[in-house]
Amino acid sequence: MRVFMRRAALAAAVLLVGILPAFAGTYLELQDEIKEFTLENGVRFIVREDHAVPVFSFFTVVRIGSANEVRGITGISHVLEHMAFKGTSVIGTTDIKKEREAMAAEDRAYAALKAERARGADTDPDQLAALEAEFAKARDAARQFVISNQYGQIVESHGGVGLNASTWTDYTEYHYSLPSNRLELWAYLEGSRMADIVLREFYTEKDGPVTEERRMRVDDSPMGKLFMEQFQNLAFEANGYHHSTIGYMSDLNTMTRQDAQEYYDRHYIGPNITVAVVGDVAAADVEKYARKYFAKIPTGTPEFMETIEPEQLGEKRLVVKQDAQPLLLIGYKIEGINHPDWPVYQAIADILGQGRTSRLYAEAVKKQQKAVQCAAFAGYPGLRYRTLLTVLGVPAKDVTAAELETIALAEIQRLVDEGATADELAGVKRRARADFLRGLEGNNGLASQLAMTQAMSGDWRDLFTEVARLEAVTLEDIQRVAAQIFTEQNRTVALSENVES
C-alpha cells in the first residue's frame, strides 16, 4: 500500500515540475524497499535486499575525518584507517596479553626517543642513537606476537573482493564485498574492528607506508602539493579543512600510539558510524548479526567542528614556482551540504565547468584553446562545513596559469552579469536525473551512496530527493547565488608557474 502511495506522490511531484515523465521501472520502489535500524549504541544500519546474485556489498562510513583533527596530530584519521586492517585483540595476534605488554614497552621507548628528538639543537647524538636502537628493539619485540595481515587474509580467503578503505576531510570509509553465505562472518569481522581495534605495528605503519603515501600523493606530486595541501592551507585558516587529510610530515613523524588510541576512543562511537548493506541478504539477518557483533561499540556524543571559518575579507593568492607545468585553482567559499543553496551551487558548478558544453570548457578549451581542462565542482575539500566551489584549470602548452585565470574569471563574471540560460538549467536537471539513475546500479555503488548520504547530510533519503531539489532551482537562484559567491573578496587563487630546476 505504501508503495502505491509513494509512487502517486512522486508522480504528483513530477507533474508539478513537469519534466520527469512517468516510468514503469522498478527503481521507483527502491526507496520503499530500503530498511533501516539503529542499535542502542547509535550505530545506524541501512539495508537493501537484492537477491539476483548470492553476494553482498557493504560500506561502513565513520563520520570522522581530517577536519576533526587538531594541529600536532594531523593525518591521524588516515593513520587509523590503516590501523583498522591490523586486527583486533583476537585477530592478528599469537598472545594478546604479552603483545600488549610489549607494546607498552615499545611506547615507553618511543616516548624517550621523542623527548630526545624534541631537544632539537641540544640533542645528544650518542644518546639519540642509543634510544633509537632501544626503540627498534622494543618494536621488534612487539612484532613477535603479530600475525601479519591476518584480518585481510581472512576476508580474502573467504572470497572477499574490493577490500579497501579511504579517508577524507569529513569521513573515513571501509568497504568490500563477500559471497552472501558469509554475512555473519562479515558482521563479526566488521563489528570487531570498530569495537576492538588493536593499534599494533603503529610506528612501522605510520613511519613506513603512511609516510610513503604522503611522499607519493603530495611531496613528489606537483599537482598534489598544490591541490591537496597549499590550496587548502591558503583558503581555510580556522576550520579543519585547513590541512590536508594526509597530514603534515612533522605530525606524522611525531604522533604516538596514545594519540591514535585517544582519537579512536573519542570518535569511533556508535552515533558516528553508519553501515549500509546491499545485496543477497535478509534484513532480519543483518539486524540479528548487527545486534550480536556491533553492540560492543561504545556510544557517546559526536563532536562537531566548533571552529567556524570566519568570513574572508579579501582575495587570497599564492603563486608557486616549481619545475612542472602550470596549474590553476580558484576557490570561492560556499556553505555546506545542508544549506538550502547547496543545489544551486551544484547547478552553478555544472553550468560553469562540467562537460564539453560547460562555459569554462567551451571558452578556454574549445574556443581559445588555452587549456586542456577546465572544470568546476562544489564541495572540495569538504561537504559538511563551509567549503569551496573550485575551478581547476590545466593550461595548454606554453600558456601560463595567469592567462588561463583571466579567461576563467571573465567567464565567471559573465555568469554573474548575465545569469544562465533556460537551456543550460534544463540540461543540468536532465543530467542530474541520468546521473542519479546511473548511481543506483550495482550493490557496491548503492551501498556507498546510501551510507555516504546518511553520514554527510544526516538522512539517506536525501539521495532520492536530490533530483527534485535540483528541479526546484530557478534562473533567479543562479544569478542570486552567483552574485553572492563570485566576488573578489570571497576568492582564493593558487597557481603554479613553471621554472626549470
Partner: protein, 707 residues
C-alpha cells in the same frame, strides 16, 4: 602410596594437559561461524546475435532503471599507426567523437548529448578501440544514430584535430611532472625496446606529422562492422534491439584488407635503467620481463603464484616490504599474463630514495624464494580460497559477464575458459606451482627501472648490472612557421627583398647564365661515422643535368636530359622513373642559384621578421607544388642566412625539414655565393659542404648527356 592430594594434583595436571590440548585445537572465533552453502546462481540471460554485416551483439535486458548502455570493442589500435606518426590512433579515437559526424558538427553533438544527460565517448588504445553510449531509454534512437555517425561517418573537422593536437602536446609537456607517469612510460621501452609498437609514445614531431587525411585513412582502414563487438545492457526488448542496431549501422562496408599481423614481443636480456629527476623524496622501482599468454598451460599456476607473491594484503611482498619493513605504501606484483599478447611479469614498489637497492633486493629475494622453495600448503590453500571463494564475483554484474564473453571471442578463448581455470586452480600442488614459476619467471632476466633522485640512493644499482641512464628530456618541438595568406603587399615586399638579394649576389650577370658547373665536397654524418663525398654537378639550361657523386666505395652518375634520366653505378645502367627525374630537376630550378636566376618569373611572399642563428632575418617564401621553400635574408646585409625546405632523408627515406645554413660567402666566377654550408635534417646535423669551384657557362662535351 599415592595420597589423595597427589591424586588431586595428578588430576589437575591431566586436566591442565587436556585443557591445553583443547586450546591448541580450538578454533578461532571466526572459524566457528557457520558458513551455509552458497545459493546456486546462474549466468545472467543474454543473447548473442551476429548481424549480416559481421557485427557481433551481446544483449542483456535489465529494467531496473530506464537506461540503456552500449559498449563497443573494436579491433583497432595504435599498434597499427605509422612509427613517425605516433599519436595518430589516439587522436583518431578522440576526434571521432569531437570532430563532428554525419550531418552534425562536433559542437552540435556535444550540445545534444549533454542536454539529454547522455554519455557518448570513443577511443583508440594500444590494441583495441571502442565506443560507449549511455542514455535514458527514451533517447535510444538519437543515441544509436549518434553512435553510428561517429563510428561510420566522422568528419574530422580541422579545428577539433588542432584541439586534439593541443591536448597531446600538453600531455607531452607534462609527462615528466609525476614520477609514476615517467615510470609507466619508460617501462615498456625497457621491456620491449624503444621503437616497439607497445612502447613508443608521441613526441611533438610525431603529432605535428599527423594530417586530416591520415586520420580519415586510419578510420577507413580499421573501423568496420565485422571488427566490432557490441555489448548492450538495459531497459529494452532484446529481439527488437538487434533490429534497431542493424538499421542504425546499415551500409557500413566491410574492411578492404585484413588486419596486419600483430607485432612480435621480444624477450630482451636484463638491463638496469635509471631515469633521474631532481628533488624527489621517493623512488619508483620496477622489475619486469616478458610474460605468457593466458592460453599457456601454466596460466593457472602463475596466477595463483602471483597472488601469493604480490597480489594483495596477504601476499609475501606486501607483508615483507610494507608491513614488516615499512619500506613502502605501494608494493606488489603482476603475474605477467595477457589475453592477446604475452603480458609482462612485474614487481614494483615506491620507496624512499635511500632504500632503493634494499627494496629491489628484497623483492628479488621474494621472487627467488618462489622458485627455490615450494610454498606451504596453507599458503596455497589461502590463495586457492581467495580465487575459488570469490568465483561468484565473476558473475555479479551483467556487464562483466558479457565483456568477458567478448574478450574470449575476440582473442580466441573457449567460452568455458573460466571453468577450466577454476579446475586447474583446484588441482594445483606446491610442486607444480614451483615448477611453473621456474619455467616462467626468471629473476636474473628481470630488467630494472628506477625513477628517482640517484644522488640519494643507497647504492648505484650496479649490483644488478651495468647501469644505463635514461634521458627523459623532452625533445623540443620544431619551430613551425605558419604561412599566412599572401597579400598584394606581402608579395611586393617579397619580390623587393629577392631583387635586393639578386643585386647583392650577381645582379645582371644572372641574365646571361646558360649553364654552370659546380664541384663541392660534402661530409655526411651517418650512423657509421662521417662519410666524405665529392659532388660534381653540370647544368645545361633549360633541362640537362649531370651529377657525379664520388663515395669512398665507388662512383655514381645521374643524368637528366629533358624527360629522360638514367643512373650509372657499379658498372650498371638503370633508367630513372619520371618521379626520380622530376626530383633531380629541382636542382636546376628550385635550389638557390636556380631561384635567383628566375626572380623575375617567380612569386615571393614576405613573412614577418624572425631571428635565425642570432641574426634578425626577413623571411621570404616561394612555393613549388605547394611545398614552401623559405629563404631567411639577413635584415642588415640582405644576404641569405638559411634556406629551409621539405626534403627526404637519404638515410631513412622519410620526410624531413632540411635547413641549409650559409657559413661563408665566396666570390665565385663573378657571383657572390655561399661557399660553405651546414645542412640539418629535422634540426640534427646532417652534412657540411664546401664549394671547391664554380664556373658559369662552361664548355660542355655533349656526349656527357648521352647514354
Amino acid at each position: 602410596m599415592m595420597t589423595t592430594r597427589m591424586i588431586l594434583k595428578l588430576l589437575v595436571a591431566i586436566g591442565a594437559i587436556a585443557l591445553a590440548a583443547g586450546v591448541a585445537s580450538a578454533k578461532a572465533p571466526w572459524e566457528k561461524i557457520k558458513i551455509p552453502e552458497l545459493d546456486t546462481f546462474e549466468m545472467p540471460a543474454y543473447e548473442r546475435v551476429e548481424l549480416p554485416s559481421g557485427m557481433v551483439l551481446y544483449l542483456a535486458e535489465d529494467h531496473f532503471v530506464p537506461m540503456i548502455e552500449l559498449s563497443a570493442q573494436i579491433m583497432v589500435g595504435s599498434i597499427y599507426e605509422d612509427a613517425d606518426k605516433v599519436g595518430l590512433a589516439a587522436m583518431a579515437g578522440s576526434v571521432l567523437r569531437t570532430g563532428g559526424a554525419g550531418e552534425r558538427s562536433g559542437d552540435e553533438i556535444d550540445s545534444l548529448v549533454e542536454a539529454r544527460g547522455m554519455d557518448l565517448e570513443t577511443w583508440v588504445g594500444q590494441t583495441t578501440g571502442g565506443a560507449y553510449l549511455s542514455c535514458l531509454t527514451e533517447d535510444i534512437d538519437l543515441g544509436l544514430a549518434l553512435l553510428a555517425d561517429v563510428l561510420m561517418r566522422p568528419r574530422f573537422a580541422d579545428d577539433k584535430i588542432e584541439l586534439a593536437k593541443q591536448m597531446q602536446k600538453a600531455a607531452i609537456a607534462r609527462r615528466n611532472d609525476e614520477p609514476l607517469s615517467i615510470a609507466m612510460r619508460e617501462l615498456p621501452k625497457v621491456l620491449f625496446g624503444a621503437d616497439h609498437p607497445l612502447a613508443r609514445h608521441p613526441e611533438y614531431a610525431s603529432i605535428a606529422a599527423v594530417t586530416r587525411a591520415n586520420l580519415q585513412e586510419f578510420h577507413d582502414a580499421y573501423f568496420h562492422p565485422e571488427r566490432m563487438y557490441l555489448v548492450v545492457i538495459g531497459d529494452f526488448a532484446a529481439d527488437e534491439m538487434a533490429g534497431r542496431i542493424e538499421a542504425a549501422f546499415a551500409g557500413w562496408p566491410a574492411a578492404p584488407a585484413p588486419l596486419p599481423a600483430d607485432p612480435e614481443i621480444p624477450r630482451l636480456p636484463r638491463t638496469v635503467n635509471v631515469a633521474a629527476k631532481d628533488g624527489l623524496s621517493q623512488a619508483t622501482v620496477l622489475l619486469g620481463h616478458k610474460g605468457i599468454r593466458n592460453d599457456d598451460p601454466d596460466y593457472a599456476a602463475i596466477q595463483v603464484a602471483a597472488e601469493i607473491l604480490g597480489g594483495g594484503f596477504n601476499s609475501r611482498l606486501f607483508k615483507e616490504i610494507r608491513s614488516n619493513r615499512g619500506l613502502a605504501y605501494s608494493v606488489g606484483s603482476s603475474p605477467g599474463t595477457g589475453w592477446r599478447y604475452p603480458g609482462a611479469f612485474l614487481a614494483y614498489t615506491m620507496t624512499r630514495n635511500d632504500a632503493v637497492e634494499a627494496a629491489a633486493k628484497g623483492i628479488l629475494g621474494e621472487i627467488d624464494k618462489m622458485l627455490n622453495e615450494p610454498v606451504t600448503e596453507d599458503e596455497l590453500q589461502a590463495a586457492k580460497d581467495l580465487i575459488l571463494n570469490s568465483e561468484v564475483f565473476n558473475y555479479d554484474t551483467k556487464r562483466e559477464v558479457l565483456d568477458r564473453l567478448v574478450l574470449f571471442e575476440m582473442y580466441g578463448y573457449a567460452p568455458d575458459f573460466l571453468q577450466t581455470y577454476q579446475e586447474a586452480v583446484k588441482a594445483l600442488t606446491p610442486a607444480a606451482m614451483q615448477a611453473a614459476c621456474q619455467r616462467v619467471w626468471k629473476p636474473a632476466e628481470l630488467s630494472v627501472l628506477v625513477v628517482g633522485t640517484p644522488s640519494e640512493f643507497d647504492g648505484d644499482l650496479s649490483t644488478f648490472g651495468p647501469v644505463n641512464q635514461i634521458d627523459i628530456t623532452i625533445p623540443a618541438p620544431k619551430a613551425t612557421l605558419v604561412i599566412p595568406e599572401a597579400t598584394a603587399e606581402s608579395l611586393a615586399q617579397g619580390k623587393a627583398r629577392m631583387l635586393k638579394l639578386r643585386d647583392r649576389t650577381g645582379g645582371k650577370a644572372f641574365a646571361n647564365v646558360k649553364g654552370w658547373h659546380e664541384s663541392s665536397e660534402m661530409t655526411v654524418q651517418t650512423q657509421m661515422g662521417a662519410l666524405a663525398i665529392t659532388i660534381d654537378q653540370t647544368v645545361q639550361l633549360p633541362d640537362h643535368l649531370r651529377i657525379v657523386t664520388k663515395l669512398p666505395f665507388g662512383e655514381q652518375v645521374q643524368v637528366v636530359a629533358g624527360d629522360q634520366g638514367w643512373a650509372v653505378g657499379m658498372g650498371q645502367q638503370k633508367d630513372l622513373t619520371a618521379g626520380e627525374v622530376a626530383e633531380l630537376r629541382k636542382a636546376i630550378d628550385q635550389e638557390t642559384f636556380g631561384i635567383l636566376r628566375r626572380v623575375d618569373e617567380l612569386e615571393f611572399q614576405a613573412l614577418a621578421p624572425l631571428e635565425v642563428g642570432g641574426k634578425l632575418c626577413n623571411p621570404v617564401v616561394v612555393e613549388f607544388d605547394d611545398e614552401a621553400t623559405i629563404m631567411y635574408l639577413d635584415a642588415e646585409t640582405d644576404l641569405l642566412v638559411m634556406v629551409q625546405s621539405p626534403a627526404t632523408s637519404p638515410m631513412t627515406g622519410s620526410p624531413v625539414t632540411q635547413k641549409v645554413y650559409v657559413q661563408g660567402y665566396q666570390d665565385l666566377s663573378g657571383f657572390t655565393l655561399p661557399g660553405t654550408l651546414k645542412i640539418t635534417h629535422d634540426d640534427e646535423d646532417f652534412a657540411d659542404v664546401t664549394v671547391k669551384s664554380f664556373e658559369v657557362n662552361p664548355a660542355v662535351d655533349p656526349a656527357l648527356f648521352e647514354k
